[in-house]
């Protein structure tokens, strides 16, 4: 252990600390805000550790009769949009990879570049005409704009790296293409499925643009519900921060737990919806 090495290590840990602290401090402050009574939240200089912890803020959010509705809405929209995307996107990624139809990626690229709002105008009119506004169907359908390209993009990448030899052997043995896909290609691509699923869930759960236009009072998802809380309780920071943390907690938990898959997916596709 020469002093130069030790100095280098100290420098490294210092830089790691500096780099990670904006994220850590932000989320700690978010937690602190959510656990304080108004007196502490309105005091100057700010209080970091309150004398009395306001668990009540969380209880209030859970107890509000609408929270469960919004939570269910978010769950249904994200669940359906991700499920449908996996259902159509995984086979499509397989087909595109095997046909080497790289030009079809242009559609995905266009979808990636297009601002979410431009989908909203025509689809809003369509849903109005079909009389679907006021149900969750419009939001499920429009979330496909986010989830389908993510799934297709990631699955193309995975199926391109899986070995062809096994599939060819199965074909020679008389398996149909569907059987090859179902029993040979799909099991090998399981890590890819996890990556596509996790990213589709996160970006659909986080989506806000589609909800503010398409959601009515009864069909709000959690991000829209939180946004509407801002306009009504401008001054009660505690419950607001608690609500914000509850909305994003599942995503943060998933990020830390599935950190490896998320990093793999993001570096491969650098996908983001909306």
């Amino acid at each position: 252990m020469n002093p130069r090495y030790i100095l280098g290590r100290i420098g490294l840990w210092l830089s790691v600390f500096v780099i990670v602290s904006p994220a850590i401090l932000f989320f700690l402050w978010m937690a602190s805000l959510s656990l304080k009574f108004e007196i502490d939240n309105a005091s100057y200089p700010p209080v970091f550790f309150p004398e009395h912890v306001a668990w009540k803020n969380y209880a209030d959010v859970f107890a509000s009769n609408r929270f469960l509705t919004y939570f269910t809405n978010s769950l249904v929209v994200t669940g359906c949009a991700t499920g449908l995307a996996m259902l159509v996107g995984v086979p499509a990624g397989y087909g595109i990879a095997r046909m080497a139809a790289h030009k079809s990626a242009i559609v995905i690229l266009i979808a990636r570049i297009t601002p979410g709002l431009s989908y909203l105008i025509p689809l809003f009119l369509l849903f109005q005409w079909l009389g679907l506004l006021g149900t969750l169907v419009p939001q499920i359908i429009i979330h496909l704009v986010v989830t389908v390209p993510i799934v297709i993009w990631i699955m193309i990448g995975y199926f391109e790296t899986t070995p062809l030899e096994l599939e060819e052997a199965a074909l020679i043995d008389g398996a149909t293409r569907w059987q090859v896909f179902r029993h040979v290609a799909l099991p090998i691509a399981r890590p890819g499925l996890a990556v596509a699923f996790i990213l589709a869930v996160i970006f659909s759960w986080n989506n806000f643009v589609f909800g503010i236009v398409l959601a009515g009072r009864e069909t709000r998802t959690l991000p829209v519900a939180v946004y509407n809380m801002i306009s009504f309780d401008q001054l009660s920071w505690g419950p607001l921060a608690a609500a914000a943390l509850i909305v994003t907690a599942p995503v943060l938990l998933l990020t830390v737990l599935a950190q490896r898959q998320i990093v793999a997916g993001l570096t491969a596709g650098a996908v983001k919806g909306g």
């Binding site: 994220a23 805000l33 086979p91 397989y94 079809s104 431009s118 806000f208 914000a244 990020t255 983001k272």
Partner: protein, 312 residues
């Protein structure tokens, strides 16, 4: 695997031919997705272009007006202003994450304990729900009670009005955007660093190059392609940025932080001027494509001049 390499050349050729042969029977796999893409991506686009040629306010009949909606754009001061806001917001939101993301990637490329876990923490800002984040930033920006002004006072700086002052609102929003999206740049550059061979570093060490020289003359040129991709993605996302701006300022104070996307929202879903809104959507998309093309062109120029330089 070794048996494969020993088969006769004829069999190898046959195998290659089989690989080349792309039967149409893969189409059934793609068709369901094709239907979805047609319905939610292609149809909206065609419909938007058609609508942009109509005078269409919700509740009144549609009238074909040709290019009138497009001609209205340059004479609409709010739109022109929004373009300016979008460009300055985008320029800052591309450059700052590129700088910080590269520095962070260099650090995360080293080996240290709990690196995976810390990387997970580091990418939390970009994965967290934007609205939830925006809400907390709004509280932090509060001029009297916000924690940011308290932090400024600790280092002896005067308090700021942050998003409540027209001159500081865009830099303040860029601060949030940078905090949020530096991790994405870090991840892409980190991928680039992992692909760099070790030989140049070894010879640099023998030549006695210092840390900065190694970074400037070896690392930076080798990760350039990745920086370019990161910059491109960042540009596309920054131009379209909506959640953070809308949730924190709604384009205010006044219209000081109104970007094209926020203005588009107002035109289409506050004033319900759908024809004009569609024209804005089309021009907005073309602007993003134009910016992407400009970046590609600059990259070509840069490569070309550097090649000339090395040949000379």
């Amino acid at each position: 695997m070794s048996s494969v390499t020993q088969v006769s050349p004829v069999a190898a050729e046959e195998a290659a031919a089989a690989r080349e042969w792309r039967p149409p029977s893969y189409w059934p796999f793609v068709i369901p997705a094709l239907v979805v893409v047609l319905a939610v991506i292609i149809f909206p686009w065609v419909f938007t272009i058609w609508m942009s040629l109509q005078e269409w306010k919700v509740g009144s009949p549609t009238v074909f007006v040709g290019l009138a909606n497009y001609l209205r754009l340059p004479t609409d001061p709010r739109f022109v202003e929004a373009v300016g806001h979008t460009l300055s917001y985008t320029a800052l939101s591309v450059l700052l994450p590129l700088v910080f993301g590269t520095l962070a990637a260099v650090v995360f490329h080293q080996k240290f304990a709990a690196r995976g876990f810390l990387r997970g923490i580091f990418i939390m800002p970009m994965m967290a729900t934007p609205v939830a984040i925006a809400l907390v930033w709004t509280m932090m920006f509060h001029p009297q009670l916000g924690v940011l002004n308290y932090l400024l006072s600790l280092v002896g700086l005067p308090p700021q009005l942050w998003v409540f002052n027209p001159t500081t609102v865009i830099p303040s929003l860029v601060l949030v955007e940078t905090w949020q999206w530096t991790p994405l740049v870090m991840l892409i550059v980190l991928g680039g660093l992992a692909a760099i061979p070790t030989e140049p570093y070894e010879s640099a060490q023998i030549d006695g190059a210092n840390f900065w020289q190694v970074f400037r003359f070896i690392t930076l040129p080798l990760i350039m392609p990745f920086l370019f991709i990161a910059g491109m993605i960042r540009m596309i996302d920054a131009v379209k940025s909506f959640d953070i701006i809308f949730a924190i300022t709604q384009g205010g104070p006044g219209s000081a932080s109104e970007t094209i996307n926020v203005y588009l929202y107002s035109v289409a879903f506050v004033y319900y001027d759908l024809g004009y809104g569609s024209a804005i959507a089309v021009v907005f998309f073309l602007l993003i494509v134009a910016l992407a093309a400009l970046l590609l062109y600059l990259r070509k120029r840069l490569l070309w001049t550097s090649q000339l330089g090395s040949e000379a």
